[in-house]
Amino acid sequence: MTARRLLTPANAVLVVVVVLLLALPAFGTDFFVRFVMTQTMILGLIAATIVFLTSHGGMISLAQLLLAGIAGFMFGNAALESGARGLNLGWPPWVAVVFALGVTTVVAFLLGALASRTTGIYFLMLTLVYGVIGYFFFAQVVTVSGPGGVTSIVAPEPFTDPVNLYYAAVVLSVLAYLAFRAIGRTNFGLALQGVRDDPVRMSSLGFNVALHRTLAFTLGGLVAGVAGLLNVWWRGQIDPASIAIGPTLIVLIIAVIGGISYFEGAWLGALVYVLLNTYTKSIPLIDRIGLTPDRFNTVIGLIVLLIMVLSPEGLVGILERAGRGRGVSKPTEHSIELPTTSPTTVQTGGREP
């Protein structure tokens, strides 16, 4: 790939955004950097795994927050030496990191293998069941958590500083963004998109459809696990309520607000969500129709409803359409109906990996 081909407007915008994000601690307030933006990066990273599985695999997963939570719980159990709850294994923090990511990856592989024969709406429902059963697991099994969760978790050394943690979240987000985009051009990514568009044809061409879906889900789970570690370091604790059905749907909603077919959309949606969550509470809304500051979920629900009714491509889709000029609403592969009806836009030139 030549330098000229890399110099597209989109990539230029990306570089500017990354530079701005890295420079942010120099001019942003502490609260904005440490609370708003760190949270945005973490939620965006989790949402990006949903975007990856949806856009490349045709699998809308509601289990990503559970996988992030598993990493968090495992880190807490492994790293703490003493605490009210959990196993308190007292391992060195980086061993705990490896352990947490390992467990998350294995769980993701098993759950993915079980779900790999379904797609679309079935996959959505099955992964929602995963998410809720996972919540009940951590809420009930007192050996690893119990309803109170695991508390007083400390991040490993350089990340105890909130600004360093913010940098880590930015760098990992950028890496995940680039990696997810690059995967789409590898043999594996192309085959995965083939599986998304026409599983029967891919199967008769000799590709192992279930294995491709399982591996994609495992990769998504690993990245979600990384985000889960950042999250538990940032919060210093994790409890089952944070992976219950409400937050699970919120993560999907973040991906939807940004645009479920666009990787950028994950972080944009997270930013919009966190900004709304943080700042609308101080704006007095009209109490009569039920929009008090406490009614934040009503606001976010209505926004999602509006987006889904008007433009299922989300904010990035709306921006892109505005950028292309009016009137040209040509249907691209960025359609919400990815799994079944999208045209076969990917040439499956790759050999079977």
């Binding site: 079980l114 409400g246 629900g301 009714v309 919400i336 109906e337």
Partner: protein, 351 residues
């Protein structure tokens, strides 16, 4: 899975393996419950038949409630391929509404004793609240789902957004405390089964569920509308081409599906109470039942709710005492076993 591809012998074994594992697991489970379950809260069934009978009844009565809620979900999906993620919200709304109505009819807001509640002041709130859920369901379908028919994921996301809004508004309206509907005094007794006391209200709930199930079955098999719906499940374009008003059929189906969610909500409010967050639990219950049974199949809803109800009842009673809190995993094991053998559920068909 492509049926056209040539399967090697190795694949054949891999395919048959789940078929062998399932009967084995089933046999082990029965053996365990009957003879081996020492050191569990319930003890083996041969030693404590009373506890076994009660657990079995618990499972079947829960299954009745699961069926009422899940049949509405599966009915809507079967015909329209719409996954109504707001199903739990309709359940919860009907539960809260029926409790308010019952309080108004009895004339007390707290400490209602079963003796205060006549059969009428249980059934009228049930019908009214279920009708409210049904009307809301039809509105939801007409306003938000009618024009994007066939876009399954968009519809799922729209109903998720609606469920978020409804949950928040119900929290505002009814508060965050758990509330319970009171069973009518006529059915609030205890009977004796193998020396164990058993609440007749649970048997009453099962009876209501059976009535609902039979009515649903008669409606689907013996009436013209039911036949149209069954035909629509099999081949919707053909039904449309025959000049049948499919729009009306869709609206009626959504009405009935939402009514069932509402009726289940009132039964659930009497059985276990309702509170904020229960909408998610009951959406989960419906999902598990229809994933096990197969989406869109009423037969599947019966089979799924029975299996799920039995597992939910038996797992806390027959796991070793120090592992009782792992009971939730067994629901997941059930799901995994069924999906390993039949990816689309027991009676399901690929889309």
């Amino acid at each position: 899975m492509a049926d056209t591809s040539i399967q090697s012998a190795r694949h054949d074994v891999a395919r048959r393996l789940p078929g062998l594992v399932v009967p084995l697991v089933l046999a082990l489970a029965v053996l365990w419950v009957l003879f081996l379950a020492r050191g569990t809260p319930a003890e083996p069934a041969v030693r404590d038949p009373g506890r076994f009978a009660v657990t079995l009844l618990d499972g079947i009565t829960s299954a009745g409630l699961f069926f009422v809620v899940a049949s509405g979900f599966t009915l809507i999906f079967g015909l329209m391929r719409t996954v109504n993620m707001a199903h739990g919200s309709l359940f919860l709304l009907a539960g809260f509404t029926a409790i308010s109505l019952q309080q108004a009819m009895v004339g007390k807001t707290r400490n209602i004793a079963p003796a205060d509640v006549s059969l009428v002041s249980w059934i009228v709130p049930l019908l009214a609240a279920a009708a409210l859920a049904a009307v809301l369901g039809v509105l939801l379908q007409q306003v938000f789902l009618r024009w994007n028919q066939g876009q399954e994921l968009r519809q799922a996301l729209i109903t998720i957004a609606i469920s978020v809004v409804l949950a928040d508004q119900m929290l505002r309206q009814f508060g965050g405390l758990a509330k319970t509907m009171v069973w009518p005094g006529a059915v609030s007794h205890f009977i004796e089964i193998f020396g164990e006391r058993y609440a007749t209200s649970r048997l009453f709930m099962l009876a209501v569920a059976v009535v609902v199930g039979v009515a649903l079955w008669l409606w689907l098999t013996k009436t013209r509308m039911g036949m149209v719906i069954r035909a629509g499940v099999d081949d919707e374009p053909m039904v449309r081409a025959l000049g049948i008003n499919v729009t009306l059929v869709f609206a009626v189906t959504f009405f009935v599906g939402a009514f069932l969610a509402g009726a289940g909500g009132v039964m659930g409010a009497s059985f276990a109470g309702v509170a904020t967050g229960k909408d998610g639990d009951w959406l989960l219950n419906s999902l598990v039942v229809v994933i096990i049974g197969g989406l869109g199949s009423i037969k599947g809803a019966v089979a799924g709710s029975l299996l799920y109800g039995l597992v939910v009842a038996f797992s806390p009673a027959y796991l070793p005492t120090q592992y009782t809190f792992y009971a939730v995993i067994l629901s997941f094991v059930l799901l995994a076993l069924v999906l390993a053998v039949r990816p689309y559920g027991l009676y399901g068909r690929p889309a």
